[in-house]
C-alpha cells in the first residue's frame, strides 16, 4: 500500500470541511455557535484510541460506511453537550425522547461530515442507520478497532463552543483496503504505508527509551501509553497540544530529519521528577538548579528519542541544548510553529504520552515535529529491515 502524502493533505481538508459542516448544522439546530478546534489524521495502534475517551461519560452515534469509503464513524458528545442538545431540542421530554434527539442530531452531523468525502471521490458512500452509544473509554470507540492489531488511520475532529456546553468529537476509521483505493497515489513520491508504520514503531521505541531514562534518573516507574503520528495543518499544532499549563523543555534537532522536540510535564509531574533529581525546599519558583535538572532530563530524554532514528538511518542527528519552558502548551508551540510555517503547510506531529500507573501522578508528553519534506526523504531512505537497529552499545564501537 502506497500513501500519497499530498493526498493526506486533501483528506485532512475534507475532514475539516466535514467537521465544519457538522458544526454549522449543530449551531443551526441549537442556536449555539460552534467551531472546529482541530482536525487531524493519526496513524496509531487501535489500543491507543481508548485514551480519547478516558475520564468522562459520552453519548453519540456509531454509523457504518459502505461503498466508496468502507469503515466506521463515531460521533460523540460529552455530558454537557448531551444535556444542552436534549434541553434545546426536547425540553421537558422523557428519557427516551431525549435519547432520540441525540441520536438524530448525531445522524445529521455525521451525514454532513461524510457528504464531502463522497463528492470528492465522485461516488456514493452508503451510511447505516445510527446506533446509539453511551459510556466511556472503549464503550464509545469504533467497533472496527476493538480487536485490531494493525495500526489504523484515524481521521478526527474536535468541535467546541465558546461556553464549552456543546463540544463533540468525530472519529472516522476507514478499513485499510478502502483507504488503499481512496489514497491511490498520483505522485511519484508516494510513501509505502509499511514505512510509515515502521517509523511510528521506531518513534514508540524512542519514547520507551526516553521513559526508561526517566525511570533510571528519578526512580519513578513509567510506561509509554499512547503513541501516534498525527498529520495536521501546521497552524493547528498549538490547538492540538491544548491550553493546559506545562513545564518542560524545547530542543531543536538538525540532521536527517531536522525539527523540534518538545517535552512537556504537567506541573505535579514536573515537581515530582525535579524533586527526585534535586530534593530541596522551593518557594514555587523554579530555581536555577531545578531548571538545570529539568533541562538535563530533557536532554537525556531527547537523545533516547532521536538516537534510534539516527542509528536506523545510519546518519547523525544533532540537537541543541534544551530550553526550559513553563507556559500553556499552545503558547509553547506557537513560536515553533511560526518558524515551521515558513516552509510547510502541514506537519507530522509525533506524539507520545508517558504515564505511570503506580500513583497516578506522572504524566509527560513528547511532541516531535520533524520537517515535513525531510521526513519524506527519511521515509524514502528507510530500510525496513534495519528498523530494529535503534540501539547501539558504545562498548561495541569503542
Amino acid at each position: 500500500m502506497q500513501i500519497d502524502i499530498d493526498s493526506l493533505e486533501t483528506y485532512n481538508r475534507l475532514a475539516r470541511e466535514g467537521a465544519s459542516s457538522a458544526a454549522e448544522s449543530l449551531s443551526g439546530l441549537t442556536g449555539i455557535e460552534t467551531h472546529v478546534e482541530v482536525t487531524n489524521i493519526s496513524l496509531m495502534a487501535p489500543a491507543d484510541l481508548k485514551y480519547e475517551y478516558l475520564g468522562g461519560e459520552f453519548s453519540g452515534v456509531r454509523i457504518e460506511l459502505d461503498g466508496a469509503l468502507d469503515g466506521e464513524t463515531v460521533l460523540t458528545f460529552d455530558e454537557a453537550a448531551r444535556e444542552t442538545i436534549a434541553d434545546v431540542l426536547a425540553p421537558g421530554a422523557d428519557a427516551g425522547m431525549r435519547k432520540s434527539s441525540i441520536e438524530e442530531v448525531g445522524n445529521i452531523l455525521t451525514s454532513g461530515f461524510i457528504d464531502g468525502w463522497a463528492d470528492h471521490l465522485d461516488a456514493v458512500i452508503d451510511i447505516s442507520p445510527p446506533t446509539y452509544l453511551e459510556g466511556s473509554g472503549t464503550d464509545v470507540l469504533p467497533a472496527e478497532t476493538a480487536d485490531a492489531d494493525e495500526q489504523v488511520f484515524v481521521f478526527r475532529s474536535r468541535v467546541e463552543s465558546a461556553s464549552g456546553s456543546l463540544d463533540f468529537h468525530i472519529l472516522l476509521v476507514p478499513k485499510r483496503e478502502s483507504l488503499v483505493e481512496a489514497l491511490e497515489p498520483t505522485a511519484d513520491d508516494a510513501v509505502p504505508f509499511e514505512k510509515l508504520e515502521v517509523f511510528n514503531e521506531m518513534t514508540k521505541s524512542g519514547a520507551e527509551r526516553a521513559a526508561d531514562n526517566v525511570t533510571t534518573m528519578t526512580g519513578l516507574e513509567t510506561d509509554v501509553e499512547v503513541n501516534r503520528m498525527r498529520f495536521v495543518p501546521v497552524d493547528k499544532v498549538p490547538a492540538a497540544v491544548g491550553d493546559q499549563r506545562y513545564v518542560g523543555t524545547v530542543m531543536e534537532y538538525t540532521g536527517k530529519p531536522s525539527g523540534y522536540l518538545v517535552i512537556l510535564f504537567d506541573r505535579p509531574s514536573a515537581e515530582a521528577v525535579v524533586d527526585a533529581l534535586v530534593p530541596m525546599e522551593t518557594d514555587g519558583e523554579w530555581s536555577e538548579m531545578e531548571q538545570s535538572a529539568m533541562k538535563e532530563l530533557g536532554n537525556i530524554m531527547t537523545s533516547g528519542f532521536i538516537d534510534g532514528w539516527a542509528n536506523v538511518l545510519e546518519s547523525s542527528i544533532d540537537h541543541s541544548p534544551p530550553t526550559f519552558v513553563s507556559d500553556m502548551g499552545s503558547s509553547i508551540m506557537s513560536p515553533i510553529v511560526g518558524r515551521m510555517a515558513r516552509s510547510q503547510e502541514h506537519a507530522f506531529l509525533l506524539d507520545s504520552m508517558i504515564r505511570t500507573d503506580t500513583d497516578g501522578v506522572f504524566r509527560c508528553e513528547l511532541f516531535a515535529l520533524p520537517d515535513e519534506a525531510e521526513l519524506r526523504e527519511v521515509l524514502d531512505d528507510l530500510l525496513v529491515e534495519r528498523a530494529d537497529k535503534t540501539h547501539v552499545d558504545p562498548d561495541e564501537v569503542f
Binding site: N213, M289, S292, I300, T302, S303, A310, S316, P321, F398
Partner: protein
C-alpha cells in the same frame, strides 16, 4: 589524578563532581567546549569527562582540539547521545571512552579505570 568536567548542565556537573571527588581531584568545571579547552590548557588534567551537546562548541570538536595539541590526552565522552555515528566521530576526535547518560556511579568509575589503564 586530576579530572576536568565539561558539561553545560549545572545539575550534571554537580552529579559528576559528587561521584568523582571521593577518588579524584577535580581540575575544573567547564560549561562549553571553549571553556573545556581553556581549562585543559591551564590545569593540565589527567582525564577529561566531556559532554557532547554543549553550546558555543560541542564536546567532539573540543576533544579534537585537545588531542591535537596533546596527543596523550585522555578523554571520556559522557553524554546522552547514543548514536553510532557520533561514537565514531568521538573516536576520530581522540576519545578513548564513552559513557551514556543516565549512568550509575560504578559504570563511570569502571570506564575511568579502563581508560586510565589504557
Amino acid at each position: 589524578m586530576k579530572v576536568l568536567i565539561a558539561d553545560d548542565s549545572e545539575f550534571m556537573r554537580s552529579l559528576l563532581r559528587e561521584i568523582l571527588e571521593e577518588e579524584y581531584t577535580i581540575a575544573g568545571e567547564a560549561e562549553n567546549g571553549v571553556e573545556a579547552i581553556e581549562l585543559y590548557n591551564e590545569n593540565d588534567p589527567d582525564l577529561v569527562m566531556m559532554d557532547i551537546v554543549m553550546p558555543i562548541r560541542d564536546g567532539i570538536e573540543a576533544t579534537g582540539e585537545i588531542t591535537d595539541s596533546d596527543p596523550g590526552a585522555k578523554v571520556i565522552m559522557c553524554t546522552s547521545v547514543g548514536q553510532e555515528q557520533k561514537m565514531k566521530n568521538a573516536i576520530q576526535a581522540g576519545a578513548e571512552g564513552y559513557i551514556t547518560k543516565p549512568f550509575q556511579k560504578p559504570s563511570v568509575l569502571e570506564e575511568i579505570e579502563n581508560v586510565v589503564a589504557g
